[in-house]
């Protein structure tokens, strides 16, 4: 075999070898679903879909807490999510079983929580959207002690429940 022929064979062999190595390396480095929808790993979409649900809905809470549901759904607070005040569904229930008790806010925590939405000093709150109060102005106006917490007059799930009932009993005002 001449020197030239050997050269050509070597060139061809090296090209084939490099191509083979390149192909194998590419197969190893590029993820399986890459390029299905675009220059990214399409399986990442499904992985995102499988993420754990931590919030349920109010309906999932009312499945067990029917008494609370009857109160909550009749009042002005019916649009509030249970999970905002009490914690997430997944911290409470797992596979249909109760795994932990969610905290219930008490005392001054309640007032802080109420004022998060209802504080009139935050001027940005439209009266079309929410009823706001100033504390302690509201307490003075209602002739109650300044140490009163909101839930001593207002039911937290249906804020006008007790007030409307009291009005009905005393006949002070016609209840809508």
């Amino acid at each position: 075999m001449s020197k030239h022929a050997l050269r050509i064979i070597m060139v061809v062999a090296s090209v084939v070898l490099m191509a083979g190595v390149g192909f194998v390396v590419k197969e190893l480095l590029i993820p399986k679903s890459f390029g299905l929808y675009g220059p990214y790993r399409a399986d990442a979409i499904d992985e995102e879909t499988q993420r754990v649900l931590r919030h349920g809905t109010n309906a999932s809470c009312f499945g067990c807490h029917q008494y609370e549901a009857t109160i909550h759904l009749t009042g002005n607070h019916k649009t509030i999510s249970c999970e905002f005040c009490h914690g997430t569904y997944s911290d409470h229930v797992s596979n249909g079983r109760k795994i932990a008790t969610l905290p219930v806010k008490k005392g001054d925590e309640i007032t802080t929580l109420c004022l998060r939405c209802h504080n009139t000093e935050i001027k940005a709150r439209s009266t079309m959207v929410i009823k706001t109060v100033g504390v302690p102005d509201h307490l003075k106006k209602q002739n109650v002690k300044l140490t009163h917490t909101c839930n001593q007059c207002h039911h937290v799930h249906a804020p006008l429940k007790y007030i409307n009932e009291a009005k009905k009993i005393t006949g002070l005002m016609e209840v809508k």
Binding site: V15, A19, L36, G38, A44, E83, R125
Partner: protein, 295 residues
Amino acid sequence: MIIKDFPPNQDCSHENFPPSIDKRDFIKKVLKGTIAGSLFLVFPMDISSVGSTAVKNSETTNNIDPTIKLPEEIPEIRDRQYDIHKQNFAFIVDITRCIGCGSCCVADKREYNVPDGNYRTWVERYIKDFDDQVYVDCPNGGLDGYQKPRTDIPLNARDTFFVPKLCNMCREAPCVQVCPVGATFTSPDGFILMDSDRCVGCAYCIQACPYSARFLNPITKTAEKCTWCYHRVRKGLLPACVEVCPTGARKFGSLNDENSEVYKILKGPGVLTVLKQSMGTLPALYYMGQRLEVV
């Protein structure tokens, strides 16, 4: 992130400069590299054979824990084949209804266990005075709500409002354009998602996002962002922030559903704006009642 300092003078010593390499060697090496590189590009990737798992998974419906009674909040998604190419979602924030309670921020942090100091969504407070001076603040991203009025500014405010911020889901997303490894992408149904397995944490996307919606997770060292709760949407549920919003300031829905609130708003005559329109990012997040000053 640990940034390693190189040992002093490595590769920089002037004694070995110029490096001892002759012209023939140099040309040989360049040619070898060129040939190998071009061969690497010549062999096309067979798309039909790969990704079969992805097709299979996206066709199946998501199995929800049967013990949870979840209502279907976005119709026509659950228990049917999800055609990923035919979806069209929109998010509308009505800032005239936002009261700055921060429920959305709390829900978001809980849904994703977002590390402290980072926010997938947050609520800003804008105060505008009669001289058109604008004051913006956002204590702890709105996580604790807005309990106190601002006292550090003059009191002649004429307009105060809250602006919830989240991912704008741009149709021309700068973050997707700049990602060097394909770790962030626009899914066929219009969501900008993250592939945290591929992310190398270069933070280029964080710089590219005009809305500052991204952050580097200090634990995983990968970029993270709001996904409009993609995992919830695929189960027919509203995003967590929309779910908990007590005033309906955040609205989400499918534009394929003519009965959805977002469809009616987008089709109606109301004024809708997007953030930083001049950047040409074409957000799918619209604002109602937005003021000019908001960026």
